[in-house]
Symmetry: C2
Subunit: 428 residues, 2 copies
């Protein structure tokens, strides 16, 4: 049956066509955007077409931050050079007339603090520490560079900075701003936070070496706009013995405002829908309930995942496994499992089924942001593990388009999840 | 040192910039083309810049087949639909006025032969058997579909066909003709052989079901034009103890006329040059000679590989290993080794060094076309093994552009070869 699951996945174009539709009809589907409403309706329809016997929307209050319009350029002597720059999520707007200030480049908070208030106050702090290309696990490189983006604004504001420019978190040398979430620290002035493309970051750094008086102009109308209504989209094939519990596969439906969101996380949503389709098309009648959940608002405040977990607890739902696919529609190499040793042993026995597909790296470890709130109630949390070399080329940028998703790599992921669930349904 | 090799490879943009230059300045560098001469000069220069202590050109007589101009369309009733079509390598031209004939679709030689002369004579045979998407190893899928392209023309001509149209060998649904080599059988009339894009193949098949009288027009001026001069490009770092032998890494410099040839096999050439650069930059002084060879004419008649092997035999050169990278600049997953069991055991002991890079699949098996003629004289033949899911999307088509090569995947391959050679230099 595992062989049949893979063959059906690899010969069908439905999942990839759905991904195309999602990215074309609902690009920039950030929380609070009309595109996210389109995405909800579209994926609800995909779930019905996939053969889910129950499809419903779970209401959730989500944040509503508006990216607005942004302009940024460098003033280097008489030259004015436009920057590829976009606001980080949650950023406050600049004053209406914009901000023009000199720039101070730093690579760490230590370096920032060493400069002190005197050399930071009234200036724009430019965080320019690249992701480390020598790390083979690019998620580790991301993790080690993300502090600048997430916490940089408040750290700089505490020393009197008027705004921050942050080098995009990508290993690529490109002209795309890669945006993402930032958080202000309570009690510190909120200043605008802007991502700048890596090539522009390299240029600014170069200009600063020649002329320490380089000025940057930033104008952005991005702004928080209160909470709004959203929906987790849920579809399932009810098990023959639903008391045995739920096998959940999910992705997050929201994506940054500047991207079609094909890898992050259109792919994970489409794969989760495809798992339903594979069970339905192949006529597999599971004992457990197979459920696909497309979570709201992973990118900003993760309200979707928390709402889902709260409801599951209230309704005393029993999750055997809650798996998320949020590492791109890239070549799957295995799974991460967050569970007790005994369950891990049972799961390890399934590895031989995945060897022919080279998806047999079973690691104990992290799952996904959206399923994490189920920690206390789900028996096993899991993640689809993909090869990470290319992921940050696309991540949170306009380059995350469906033509950068390979149909076979996407479908090897769908098939891997469906096969895992098929096997678990019989062993647990 | 393995760690240093990977770090240097992953932080340098030289190899990728060289690939860009090669693909931009010498696209369509098929044997006999002026672009191939450009590629020879360019890569000779790259080898000098990489720090090779000896760089030379090895003359070899190569074929000179000209792709000419091609036009193809379908006549379906009153509709005329242009086809994405290009001649297969070695094809004869059509008559000057072109060929217009009805079409008969087949999926195998058995099916062709069952039709017999009566239903084939005077028609264009349309081979439309797709590559099997359910095979995880896409090279196996390619191997099982390639007979149509390689031998289809003569099989059809033997039954009186006037030309063949061959479905492109790719798993993608695209509008690119994927060309490649075909061979005529002696004593059978030579008829034009044309590759057609997979989407066009699907359309033709669909039209034929509605109207068996669909006609196709083919006009092509492609033609063989006698042999010409070419050169294998060779660069090396001479070992401290050259009598210990040569560690050879190679790729093929020629590429089809319709493609920049980034994956096939610009990547393999650039990786081989990069191995020289890595040894030079890191100051590694090997015992064995490290040699990069960029072979001529892999695509048509493999004269470059044979000439290299002949010369090596004449000069009594001692090759410990001859490795080819010709599976694209994709994620490397390991190596294939063609050698005796004892050497394989020694090599297997090196696997732990490659585990952190997930390049630790060491298989006994096929090497590469260009190093195969060294079988009787080289101790170990080898190939760089890459993940094959995406390879045939690019293969032999205009889609094989450098923006589809990921700098990290490319460089993980260079680093893997350099690390293998570094370790072998000490163990053998």
């Amino acid at each position: 049956m595992v062989r049949s699951i893979y063959s059906e996945a690899l010969t069908s174009r439905i999942a990839y066509n759905n991904l195309l539709l999602l990215c074309r009809q609902a690009p920039g589907r950030l929380s609070g955007s009309p595109q996210l409403n389109t995405a909800v309706q579209l994926t609800r329809q995909f779930l019905l077409e996939a053969g889910a016997d129950t499809v419903y929307l779970q209401p959730v209050l989500i944040p509503n931050w508006k990216p607005g319009q942004t302009e940024a350029h460098v003033l280097n002597g008489n030259r004015k050079v436009a920057l590829h720059a976009l606001p980080l999520g949650n950023s406050v707007p600049s004053p209406a007339e914009g901000i023009t200030a000199s720039v101070v480049e730093v690579h760490s908070f230590d370096e920032l603090n060493a400069l002190g208030r005197e050399r930071v106050s009234g200036r724009i702090v430019f965080y320019n520490r690249p992701m480390d290309p020598t790390l083979i696990n690019t998620f580790a490189a991301y993790g080690r560079a993300a502090d600048q983006r997430v916490s940089g604004a408040s750290k700089a504001a505490a020393l009197g900075a008027v705004a921050v420019l942050v080098r995009s978190l990508t290993l690529a040398s490109d002209t795309f701003p890669h945006t993402g979430q930032m958080r202000y620290q309570e009690g510190i002035a909120k200043i605008p936070a802007i991502a700048v493309a890596t090539r522009d970051a390299d240029s600014i750094s170069c200009w600063l070496k020649q002329n320490p008086d380089v000025q940057v102009f930033i104008k952005t109308t991005c702004r928080p706009a209160g909470d709004t209504a959203g929906y987790n989209v849920i579809g399932e094939i009810r098990g023959k013995n639903p008391a045995k519990g739920i096998l959940l596969t999910g992705g997050h439906l929201d994506a940054w405002y500047n991207t079609p969101g094909a890898h992050d996380d259109g792919a994970g949503c489409i794969q989760s829908i495809e798992v339903i389709r594979l069970f339905h098309t192949l006529g597999i009648r599971p004992e457990h309930t197979i459920r696909a959940v497309l979570f709201m608002d992973e990118e900003i405040t993760q309200t979707g995942g928390r709402k889902y977990a709260q409801t599951a607890t209230l309704e005393k739902e029993n999750h055997l496994i809650a798996l998320e696919s949020d590492r791109g529609g890239l070549l799957p190499v295995g799974f991460t499992f967050d569970c007790n040793e005994k369950d891990l042993e049972i799961l390890q026995k399934l590895k031989p089924y995945f060897e022919p597909y080279r998806t047999d790296t079973f690691l104990k470890g992290g799952s996904g942001t959206d399923v994490a709130p189920l920690r206390s109630s789900a028996r096993i949390l899991a993640g689809l593990l993909t090869d990470s070399q290319r992921y940050f080329d696309y991540h949170h940028s306009a380059y995350d388009t469906p033509d950068h998703v390979n149909i076979r790599e996407l479908q090897l992921g769908s098939a891997a999840i469906a096969s895992l669930f098929y096997l678990m349904d019989r062993r647990f």
